[in-house]
């Protein structure tokens, strides 16, 4: 970490530790918007970390943003922090102004963009939109009438919303857009050409998963050191040690895969890194959640204990914006369409 990242890391860790308590997450799961947390993130300029200085942001790099999104995942912050960071970045990249307030990504539907009068309207439906009920704006990538990819921003007060939740009890809403007025639109910035919102959503979730896995590891190790059975802490038993080591290696691999993806974006040479990160994070989540619950025993299965705030998020996030199996199939198809000897040059191209 460079000096800026150390300061950034301290800032976000302090902010999230102060705000994201068990009570806050429980209230959020009951439908209460984490207003104070969100205000603190905005007031510290963290939601606009990737926005250029000219656009009113911090002009920071993707590896800096990665650190923030990972921390949000570690603490289980029940707000669309990663989504807003990315939405703000995409708007700024497209030369559009960045509004205040929470934003979400309109991805996965059958959106169609058409002209109406001087502007554009969007039609379509989509399910599982993160935090739509609490967000002010949504952004979409849609093909414009000229065939170019346009970034579009809509006000979410203009759409019909049917609330829903993932198993982490995070808002995942269904939206119906009917001739919804696009309040701002421009061709997508050059740095995101060839990508979709699904890529950026997958990167957000993979980074959050890296944070949540770190939390699972710390919680499980701490519990194994304090819980006593047969006259000693259960962490002294090799059966437990071996499992926690596996959990640690899975968390480490996810950390590397996700940091590598963020670095590829930062250096403007993204190819398959986001898919790799999501595949790796998904597999790690499968293994790690199982181990963490096994180590915690019955107490970890109660709502009272906080373990499930991380495990239920991992079970949700691993499948959002493309599950590991989907991204793996895409990667595999790329590999399989070429002769076997082409694999090694692909592995070593960077």
């Amino acid at each position: 970490m460079n000096e800026f990242q150390i300061i950034l890391s301290e800032t976000i860790q302090r902010l999230l530790s102060d705000h994201v308590s068990r009570d806050l997450i429980v209230a959020s799961e009951q439908g209460k918007w984490a207003h104070d947390l969100w205000t603190a993130l905005e007031e510290n300029g963290l939601t606009k970390v990737l926005v250029s200085e000219a656009g009113g942001g911090a002009g920071a790099q993707w590896s800096d943003a990665a650190l923030l999104i990972k921390a949000a995942g570690e603490h289980g912050a029940p707000v669309p922090f990663g989504e807003t960071i990315v939405a703000a970045w995409l708007l700024d990249q497209a030369g559009l102004p960045v509004p205040d307030g929470a934003m979400t990504l309109l991805e996965g539907g059958n959106l169609s963009l058409t002209t109406q009068g001087d502007g554009f309207v969007l039609d379509g439906q989509m399910a599982g939109v993160p935090w739509a009920s609490s967000s002010k704006h949504g952004i979409a990538m849609a093909q414009g009438p000229d065939g170019d990819m346009r970034l579009c921003c809509i006000s979410l007060s203009d759409v019909q919303l049917i609330p829903g939740m993932n198993v982490a009890r995070e808002a995942r809403d269904r939206l119906i857009l009917e001739k919804t007025h696009v309040i701002a639109s421009a061709p997508c910035g050059p740095s995101v050409l060839g990508t979709t919102l699904r890529h950026w959503g997958a990167l957000i979730r993979a980074l959050q998963m890296g944070g949540a896995l770190q939390r699972l590891l710390e919680q499980s190790v701490a519990y194994a050191n304090e819980r006593t059975q047969f006259g000693k802490p259960i962490g002294k038993f090799q059966a437990i040690q071996q499992q926690l080591s596996v959990l640690a290696t899975q968390a480490a691999a996810t950390g590397v895969a996700t940091n590598y993806a963020a670095q590829a974006v930062e250096k403007g040479r993204l190819s398959h890194e986001i898919a790799v990160a999501k595949v790796r994070a998904d597999e790690a989540a499968n293994i790690a959640t199982s181990i963490a619950h096994q180590v915690h025993g019955a107490i970890g299965f109660t709502y009272e204990h906080t373990l499930h705030f991380a495990t239920r998020r991992l079970w949700s996030w691993r499948a959002e914006y493309g599950a590991g199996c989907d991204w793996a199939a895409e990667l595999g198809a790329q590999v399989m369409q070429n002769e076997p000897e082409a694999l090694w040059p692909l592995v070593t191209q960077k």
Binding site: L217, N225, G255, A328, P340, K350
Partner: protein, 382 residues
């Protein structure tokens, strides 16, 4: 809880030329080597090949020029290694000296030892083996019983080393002997020595493995004289020296590429069978490989920076061994063709090799359980 550090480490642009040079060399040199030999890559022993690699200047790449090295970067070395492994080059003869014995001597050896031993290694003419395990000392390395007793001008060694890879071909063994008996401090009293394997009193017996090849050996020492100037580092400091050496042993690209040629042949087989539904599994393997490569590179970067990433190296070794050990199982599940010792397709023969040798992947260089124990210690559980 100690946290793992895997800072990303990028191969410099300048390594690209070297990579192409290595590829061109291997395309020429490997064309007559059977696929089943190449499938065993760093366990395949070929002295003539090692001499050619030495002549290209690709052994001891990072070592000082005064010892025959080439003073190039750890990244150049990484590129050479991974290209050799992916192509299935028979690098077994020079592998151990290049990987760990050379660095050990550069760190702990005397000037005379470096002058004597390193240059022949860089030429691909001198081979090393590592004498650690014994009949009663496998994972429990501190149980080492082979004794070196002080004598006039040197040491007299008695005992047996077991599972010593390549000892029947090697010129020199870096051996760990017990020089002092102290039940209070099992990790003390161990010392490393350079042993000329032609010394009278040494008998080497190859042990045939289940695949039918002879990689490892039993090495018996009967009143073997080792001169004082062949003690490496400090007397009684063997444990710490060995531990440092293991970071080199556990994090390299050979820890996840041992089954690479099987993956290549699996893809070819699946394309020929035109079986649907294999993409997901192939993509998953690709994601694992890309991640392991970054982890391994990260450790290489830390070693280059003079750090001692013991914990991170153990993480790479554990994840890598599981990955390369899973490969024959995955290949079996996807393709279904029987593994063969001879006959059948290239895929079947390579599957035949890897199915049989894969159990060793999580045994050699520290068992899965030992590595996980090291990680658990890092987590603060032990």
């Amino acid at each position: 809880m100690q946290s793992f550090r895997f800072d990303l480490c990028e191969l410099p642009e300048e390594t690209k030329g070297l990579r192409q040079e290595v590829r061109a060399f291997l395309a020429e040199e490997l064309k007559d080597i059977p696929l089943t030999t190449r499938a065993q890559t760093w366990m395949s022993f070929d002295g003539e090949f090692s001499k050619k690699v030495g002549a290209k200047g690709w052994i001891g790449l990072t070592w000082p020029k005064k010892y025959g090295g080439h003073e190039r970067t750890a990244f150049d070395r990484y590129v050479v290694l991974e290209e050799m492994l992916a192509a299935g080059a028979p690098v077994g003869a020079h592998w151990i000296a290049d990987r760990q014995s050379g660095p050990l001597l550069l760190k702990f050896g005397t000037e005379e030892q470096r002058q004597t031993f390193l240059e022949p290694v860089t030429k691909g003419e001198s081979y090393f083996c590592i004498g650690m395990s014994e009949p009663d000392s496998g994972s429990d390395l501190a149980a080492t019983r082979t004794r070196a007793v002080k004598a006039d001008g040197g040491w007299i060694v008695n005992g047996t080393k077991l599972w010593t890879s390549g000892a029947q071909h090697a010129h020199v063994m870096i051996a760990l002997f017990r020089t002092e008996q102290n039940p209070e401090n099992r990790h003390g009293g161990l010392t490393q020595f350079l042993v000329d394997l032609k010394t009278p009193g040494i008998s080497i017996r190859p042990i045939t493995d289940l695949y039918g090849s002879q990689h490892f050996n039993e090495v018996v020492f009967e009143d073997v004289f080792v001169p004082d100037n062949r003690l490496v580092g400090t007397e009684g400091g063997g444990w710490a020296q060995v531990t440092a050496e293991l970071s080199y042993e556990r994090s390299g690209p050979e820890r996840y590429l041992s089954s690479y040629l099987l993956l290549v042949e699996l893809i070819r087989e699946l394309q020929a069978q035109n079986k649907p539904g294999a993409e997901e599994e192939i993509g998953r393997l690709f994601a694992h490989m890309m991640t392991l490569r970054q982890m391994s590179l990260s450790v290489a970067g830390m070693l280059e920076a003079g750090e001692n990433p013991t914990l991170e190296a153990s993480v790479v070794k554990d994840l890598g061994a599981v990955f390369e050990q899973d490969m024959p199982v995955i290949a079996h599940k996807l393709a279904g063709a029987p593994p063969t010792l001879s006959g059948g397709s290239d895929f079947q023969q390579v599957l035949g090799v890897l199915t049989q040798v894969a159990p060793s992947f999580s045994l050699r260089g520290g068992t899965k359980e030992i590595l996980r124990g090291i990680i658990a210690r890092g987590l603060g559980l032990r």
